[in-house]
């Protein structure tokens, strides 16, 4: 029986909507999947993933598309937040080294004393770079972490040689690859790269909301998840060119070819079934425990970070 819809207007926050990381959101919006579900979604673009989360906690928005890791962190802060659908199964972060250093720096082992550019200190790009170093037997503080921002400034930092290594996302990586400025060392946009680093999948972007909201608005949540599942399915079957055609022209990085190439390399990272795998959760928990001393002895209840009911229902249709 179709339940009555509790809420028609939903406000959603995202930290950097045009990023490929959040492609399913743009597709759901542009392809009209929200509308099909009878939802009116207002998308607020915030300065970063953490700002989006703050907006959720503060009650300014209902749902967020953001990193899965947030749900774990919030659990430690006593905030009850749950993911309802997975959008990206791999982090889609790439660690590359500047071309002129490529013959010296072959893996994370060689990062000692280098300058690593990340989107921002404390962000997931920074954490992944540090995680790679820890796995390679170094300490997280053996390299200096430099925030270089998200857009053109990150490209500038590499081009001008101000950082030696960069841990970043598309489109910065796509641009640097296209200009042949970096050599990729670790590529978590692919299954292989993610497996090499984490030993399995590692959930990245998810849709999450306060548990309160989910409980009070099950039908609205269901419809949201339906829309995202539709978008994921659409992405799986579409060609990179079709995807490029579906997003606004402004997203094309000033060069459609570049965008298509970026989509192609990221395509594998989008979630297949929108379900966060148990192994993936453990992998993220492992990373947190490794990198953050305050979490080293913390107890995480991963079952409380993801609510699979909605996805399962959506898949059944």
């Amino acid at each position: 029986p179709v339940q009555a819809q509790e809420k028609k207007d939903v406000s959603l926050a995202v930290g950097g909507k045009p990023l490929l990381y959040y492609l399913p959101l743009t597709i759901a919006e542009r392809k009209g999947f929200f509308k099909e579900e009878g939802l009116n979604v207002e998308i607020n673009d915030l300065g970063g993933g953490s700002k989006a989360l703050q907006a959720l906690i503060g009650g300014s928005v209902d749902v967020v598309t953001g990193a899965y890791e947030h749900t774990l962190r919030m659990q430690q802060k006593g905030q009850d937040i749950r993911a309802v659908a997975e959008l990206g199964r791999f982090p889609a972060i790439v660690i590359g080294v500047r071309k002129d250093l490529a013959d010296k720096v072959k893996s994370a082992k060689d990062f000692k004393g280098l300058k690593i550019g990340v989107t921002a200190p404390g962000s997931s790009t920074a954490m992944m770079a540090q995680y790679a170093m820890v796995k390679a037997g170094l300490a997280p503080s053996d390299a200096s972490i430099i925030g270089v921002g998200g857009g053109a400034s990150a490209v500038a930092a590499v081009k001008q040689g101000q950082v030696d290594v960069i841990s970043h996302l598309d489109p910065v990586i796509a641009k640097l690859e296209a200009d042949k400025d970096i050599v990729t060392l670790i590529d978590t946009r692919t299954e292989q790269g993610t497996k090499d680093l984490f030993g399995g999948s590692n959930p990245a972007a998810v849709v999450y909301a306060k548990t309160d909201f989910i409980e009070k608005n099950p039908e609205t949540t269901q419809r949201l998840v339906n829309a995202f599942v539709k978008a994921l399915n659409w992405i799986r079957t579409a060609s990179p060119e079709e995807i490029a055609a579906a997003v606004p022209d402004e997203y094309h990085l000033g060069d459609k070819g570049l965008y298509v190439a970026a989509v192609k390399s990221s395509k594998e990272s989008y979630s297949r079934d929108a379900i966060v795998q148990k192994a993936g959760m453990e992998s993220v928990v492992g990373m947190l425990k490794t990198l953050e001393p305050e979490f080293a002895n913390a107890q995480f209840d991963t079952a409380k970070t993801f609510d699979p009911r909605f996805v399962e229902k959506a898949q059944k249709r």
Binding site: I43, N44, G47, K51, G150, G151, A152, K159, G254
Partner: protein
């Protein structure tokens, strides 16, 4: 100097800047034009983009939002600055006690405040207005505070002897005397009001010029960034022109540089 000549010179400056930009982004004179285009776009592209925006009409909506936010920030911030500035200037005790706190508050990085405003005021226009106010307020406040203290002692003594009470002194002496200070700060703060609104939008919103610029920045759409900035500038010049008109009207009593009629 005639108005047309002045205008001509002003346009000339713009032409020179655009020309330099054009040369830099299309020839190798100032470095690799491809890199320059990546960071600065080209004048033609930017103009085309602005044209498309205005032709398409969606820009009006964003412009309207930003305008509203800036106007509110400017209005509330400067009224607040004027009122508190006067109040502090007339209550030296109060001013002395709160002085360090005002100074400290002025040093808070507004970017960090954004989440707090979002918490209190939501993601609608009010959090942006608040951000704008935090910039405008301090600029106006410090100037008004100083302006009130600069009142000529002779004029003040005379006004007091004429029987003015505190309120009348404010209206007839302090306010007119501090006007040029106020206007000086208003010229600065027109720009800052817009900056506040745009930064607020940039940090989190669903509409406005800052939103457009942020969108464009994330995907290397420098053309969009510059187009947004130019629209913004045009629009600040407009507001400032209005402020100047009001200023000239209110400060009509001032001696102009002494020359007799021709």
């Amino acid at each position: 100097m005639s108005r047309t000549f002045l205008l001509l010179l002003q346009v000339l400056v713009a032409v020179v800047i655009v020309l330099l930009w054009h040369v830099a982004s299309s020839t190798g004179l100032f470095g690799d034009p491809k890199t320059i285009r990546f960071f600065f776009s080209t004048p033609v592209d930017v103009v085309t983009r602005i044209g498309t925006w205005f032709a398409g009409g969606t820009i009006w909506y964003h412009l309207g939002i930003t305008l509203l936010e800036s106007a509110l920030a400017f209005g509330l911030g400067s009224v607040g600055g004027v009122v508190i500035g006067f109040w502090f200037a007339r209550r030296p005790m109060l001013a002395a006690v709160f002085d360090p706190y005002v100074k400290a508050a002025n040093a808070l990085p507004r970017v960090v405040l954004a989440p707090i405003f979002a918490l209190w005021l939501g993601l609608g226009i009010w959090s942006k207005v608040a951000l704008g106010i935090t910039l405008v307020f301090f600029i106006v406040f410090f100037n008004v505070y100083q302006g009130v203290k600069e009142v000529s002692p002779a004029v003040l003594a005379n006004a007091r002897m004429l029987g003015m009470n505190e309120r009348q002194l404010l209206r007839h002496v302090y306010l007119p005397s501090a006007l040029s200070w106020m206007f000086s700060s208003l010229h600065t703060s027109v720009g800052f009001a817009v900056v506040g609104a745009v930064v607020g939008e940039y940090l989190g919103s669903s509409a406005g010029l800052g939103y457009l610029i942020h969108q464009a920045e994330g995907v290397f759409d420098v053309t969009g960034v510059f187009a947004g900035m130019f629209v913004l500038m045009a629009f600040v010049i407009l507001i400032d022109w209005i402020v100047t008109k009001v200023e000239n009207r209110l400060l009509i009593w001032r001696p102009r540089p002494a020359t007799a009629a021709g």
